[in-house]
Each structure stands twice: as structure tokens, then as C-alpha cells.
């Protein structure tokens, strides 16, 4: 093994950069880490460029397209009226589903669901429901008889690392954009959605809610995924970095800097307290950046 190490240091001057990157990926990345930089010229603690577009899906009640670097997530919310459960007669329900279609990555084959999809899906449901971002009582219509069911679907269009971060951002943006449709009780005592054609005419039945309203969101959670490799912390990894240095830690903070989730699912590197403190500091910084981006996107929507 020692001989090959010496020969690679000789070869590296003769080999092309791309070939060296493919053949010795860990060494390629570690050379960059020694200079406190990453192959895409980012400093270690900096996340990629993030952008948000609200209202990307016209037919959905709330939608958003989030991009972090190349990772792209499309979130859409459709609302449906349903009967609430007996144990919670004045609460609505949210169903969260994360899909990774074959378009997102060469590793995902059509027909075989990706390994990461159910895990990210479960993580998202847990985070959104436990963070208390949405008060389920706001989704109630008629206590005990009707309540809203919000179907949140998040599609990964391009998987280039930090999937959970982008998915959570897209979900939070979609809920910020969500407008609950107007409904009224029809003759048979059932709730029907008032469609656009009826808005101009005088309504026979009084609508249950007068106008489209937005959900009041309490503290919105934002996530940052970091890679821990030896003594380095790399914020917002790309898919290439994730596949080489396998220890990931995802920290989710809400707007009052409370810890919603600290997720480290094993991995070769151990997380010491000092490293976790540094990751939390990076997450706080990222929280402020993402809050600014979300507020700007909301203001742009309102201007339109």
C-alpha cells in the first residue's frame, strides 16, 4: 500500500485532474481540505446558493420550488375535505410524502424506489409535525364533521446532496404560500369547494369561510446538513462529497433557535461535543440566511 501511495504522488503530476478525481476521490478532496476550501471553491462552512420560487404549480393550493446549488425540490399542497378522527374532532390532518423519481439521479432506477426516499419522507413528517409549525386546529371546518386534509407532496427533481435541507425549505415555503380555498355547505349538508365560476353569482348557500385565507405559521424550522471528516466540518455537502465522506449530521433549528432535530445516523466518524457546537453555530448562521430568503420570496409574491 505504501508503494502505491508513493507512486500516486508521482502520478498526480502526470495525471489529469479529472482522472485523479475519479480514481482517488478521497485524496482529491483531502488535498482541498488542507487549504480550507472545497472543489467548487466554497469555504468549508458556506452553503451553496439557495433560491426559492413560490407558486410554481398553478393548480395546487400552495406550492414552491426550492434550489440549493443543483439540488432541486418541488413541493405542492392539495387540500381536501374529510371527516376528522373521533379522538381529535377539531383538528385537521397533514399527509407528507417525499418522492424520488428516476429523473433525479443516475442511482435511482425506475421501478425500484430509492433507499433514501422513505427515510427522508419519515424525517420530514417527524420534523414538520413535531416542530409545531402548523396548528392542526386551524385546519378544522365544522367541529366533529369536517376538517381539511393537506396532502403535501415533495418531488426531488435533482438529487445533488443535502436532500433533507432542500425538501424542508420547499415544504416550509409551500405552507407559507398556501391559501385555503373557500367552501360552503351544499343542500345535502356536505361541504363543497366553491369553484371560480360561482364566485361572481350570488351564492345560494352561505360559505363556511368568506375568503381564501393563509395559514398562520408559528416557528418555521430550517435545516443544515454537515459532513464530519477527521477534524473538518463541511456544510451543505454535494452528492459526491456525501458518497466519499459518509458521516452526515443534520441539525434543524426553529426561529427561536431551539433544537428541533439533531440527526446523526451512524457513520465512521464520531461526533464530539466541540464538533456539535460548531455545527450548531453554522446552523444558526444558515437559519438567518434562509429566513431572509423566505421573507424575500414572500414579499415578491405579495407584490405580484
Amino acid at each position: 500500500m505504501v508503494d502505491s501511495a508513493n507512486s500516486t504522488s508521482d502520478l498526480s503530476s502526470e495525471m489529469e485532474v479529472d482522472a485523479f478525481r475519479r480514481l482517488f476521490p478521497l485524496r482529491f478532496h483531502e488535498r482541498h481540505l488542507l487549504e480550507s476550501v472545497r472543489p467548487d471553491a466554497r469555504p468549508l462552512g458556506k452553503a451553496r446558493d439557495t433560491s426559492l420560487a413560490l407558486g410554481a404549480v398553478g393548480s395546487a393550493d400552495g406550492s414552491a420550488l426550492a434550489k440549493i446549488g443543483c439540488t432541486t425540490m418541488l413541493a405542492a399542497i392539495k387540500m381536501e375535505v374529510m371527516t376528522p378522527a373521533n379522538e381529535t374532532p377539531d383538528e385537521g390532518c397533514i399527509a407528507i410524502e417525499f418522492h424520488m423519481p428516476a429523473i433525479c439521479s443516475p442511482i435511482v432506477r425506475p421501478g425500484r424506489p430509492a433507499e433514501a426516499a422513505p427515510v427522508v419522507s419519515k424525517q420530514l413528517s417527524d420534523t414538520i409535525l413535531s416542530s409545531g409549525m402548523i396548528d392542526l386546529k386551524e385546519l378544522s371546518l365544522v367541529s366533529g364533521k369536517a376538517a381539511w386534509m393537506a396532502y403535501l407532496d415533495i418531488y426531488c427533481l435533482d438529487a445533488d446532496g443535502a436532500l433533507f435541507d432542500a425538501a424542508l425549505l420547499a415544504a416550509a415555503a409551500a405552507f407559507s404560500h398556501l391559501q385555503i380555498p373557500v367552501v360552503s355547505l351544499n343542500d345535502e349538508g356536505r361541504i363543497v369547494v366553491v369553484s371560480k365560476e360561482n364566485e361572481g353569482e350570488k351564492l345560494k348557500n352561505k360559505p363556511v369561510n368568506e375568503e381564501k385565507r393563509k395559514l398562520k405559521l408559528r416557528s418555521i424550522p430550517f435545516a443544515l446538513t454537515c459532513i464530519i471528516h477527521k477534524n473538518y466540518i463541511l456544510a451543505d455537502p454535494t452528492a459526491e462529497e456525501e458518497s466519499i465522506m459518509e458521516t452526515l449530521i443534520t441539525i434543524v433549528l426553529d426561529s427561536s433557535c431551539q433544537l428541533v432535530s439533531l440527526y446523526k445516523p451512524g457513520g465512521p466518524a464520531l461526533a464530539y461535543e466541540s464538533i456539535i457546537q460548531d455545527c450548531i453555530a453554522l446552523s444558526r448562521q444558515r437559519l438567518r440566511e434562509l429566513q431572509t430568503i423566505l421573507n424575500e420570496a414572500m414579499c415578491d409574491m405579495e407584490v405580484d
Binding site: 433507499e115 413535531s130 431551539q258 451512524g266 457513520g267 461526533a271 456539535i276
Partner: protein
């Protein structure tokens, strides 16, 4: 102010642990781990030849199958499988048997809180029973944070649901080294203070998280002594009990 717990334990007291090796005769290694009412059986088959399609053939591959007590396998089971796989990959010596697959099957017998830590402990004991080469053992415990900020160790299912947050933590086994500073890292922190895996559920303050880690580390050190003693027994079929 002490927190009153339903079964009369103090805040820092774990439930009694029962670990039995060699429960299944056809498996290459097996163990059953019970913490209070939560019970999990783990079986290890392997190493078998060949790796799965997308896995690196230069290393051994670990495959985890999680069987719930009732119902079909859903997203929760997939998540547990992924966390268990990544945790066990970090403790196994993957270069000893390249191009092989070791399968670990987890069967949930009863779930009364702290299911994932119980499963991780059972899986480690089963790996030792099978003789799979490991770097060190992984010791898992669960802590929960009450509304008042009190931290309670090893909650039962009812306590988990009533508390504002709970955390599953996995630490490496404490090291008994011949050298006096054998287990210290260059920064001065002992190796067993590092966290292998951490899963949290519920909102808590950052300080509360670190207090839980401290408490968890102390409990894990105790538990790792128990694991070391119980796995040292030569006659694999003797159950060993500890308080």
C-alpha cells in the same frame, strides 16, 4: 424537584436489562435484549459471499432487515434499518472480509419505549455471538426531556409520549487500555465521549440536548461494563441478569 415516575424509578435509573446470547440455533449468531418490557431479538447470518449491486465490493456489506411486531413494514421500519445499518457499519471492521454480506435480522417482540436503542444493543450482542470482527461495541440508551426541563433516563412508552422530547444516543464502548492515555484523542477528549448516532424527536433547547448527552454518556459507561461482563461468559446459553 424530583420527577415522579410511574414505576417508581429515579430520574437516573435505567430499567433492568436482560441479555441472552445464542437464543436461535440455526443462526450464525443471535441475541435477545430486554430493557424492562421492551424486548428485541437479533439474528446474524454471515458473512455470505457477494455484495449487493450498488455496494463497494472492496468492503464487507451489512444488510439489516427489521421486522415489526405487527403490521407491514413501512417508512418507520426503513428508517430504523438505515440507522442501524450506518451505526453497525461504523463499528464493524469492513476490510477483513471484502466482497461479503452480513445480514442482521431484527424482530421486535415488544415495544415499551426505547425500541431503537434496544435493537442496537441486541444487534451488537448478536454480532459478538457470531464472531464478526468489530472495532468496538456500540452502547445505546434513550433520554427524554420533560416540559419542566428535567432529564429522565430510559423512558417507557407512556413517558416518551408525555415528555416534550426524547433522544436516542449511541456511544462506543468504553476502552480498557494498557497505556494510561491509550484512549485519548489528540484534543484531550476520550474516545468514548464521541457520539456514534443521535436521533431526536421533539423540540428542546440546545443546552438541554448537551445535558442529555452528558447523562447518556454516564449511563452508557455503566451499560458498557455490563455488556463487557455478560459477553465474556464462555457458555453462550447462560442468561445474565443485571439491575
Amino acid at each position: 424537584m424530583e420527577v415522579d415516575r410511574a414505576d417508581g424509578r429515579t430520574a437516573n435509573q435505567r430499567r433492568p436489562v436482560v441479555c441472552t446470547r445464542g437464543v436461535l440455533h440455526r443462526a450464525h449468531g443471535s441475541a435477545s435484549w430486554a430493557q424492562g418490557e421492551t424486548k428485541v431479538i437479533a439474528a446474524v447470518y454471515g458473512p455470505k459471499a457477494g455484495t449487493k449491486k450498488n455496494e463497494n465490493p472492496e468492503k464487507a456489506c451489512i444488510e439489516v432487515i427489521w421486522k415489526p411486531k405487527t403490521g407491514q413494514s413501512g417508512k418507520q421500519e426503513r428508517e430504523y434499518e438505515m440507522v442501524l445499518k450506518k451505526t453497525l457499519q461504523s463499528i464493524c471492521l469492513l476490510n477483513v472480509h471484502p466482497n461479503t454480506t452480513t445480514s442482521i435480522v431484527i424482530q421486535v417482540v415488544n415495544d415499551d419505549g426505547g425500541l431503537l436503542p434496544c435493537a442496537i444493543n441486541a444487534a451488537c450482542s448478536a454480532l459478538v455471538d457470531a464472531g464478526i470482527p468489530l472495532k468496538h461495541l456500540a452502547v445505546a440508551i434513550c433520554c427524554s426531556v420533560a416540559e419542566s426541563g428535567h432529564i429522565v433516563l430510559d423512558p417507557s412508552k407512556l413517558e416518551e409520549q408525555n415528555m416534550k422530547a426524547f433522544i436516542y444516543l449511541v456511544f462506543p464502548n468504553s476502552i480498557t487500555s494498557v497505556l494510561p492515555d491509550g484512549s485519548k484523542r489528540p484534543g484531550g477528549e476520550a474516545m468514548e465521549h464521541g457520539i456514534v448516532t443521535s436521533l431526536t424527536h421533539g423540540v428542546m433547547a440546545v443546552d438541554e440536548y448537551f445535558s442529555c448527552v452528558k447523562l447518556g454518556r454516564a449511563a452508557a459507561a455503566e451499560l458498557s461494563d455490563f455488556v463487557r461482563n455478560s459477553l465474556k461468559l464462555k457458555a453462550g446459553n447462560d442468561p445474565s441478569k443485571a439491575g
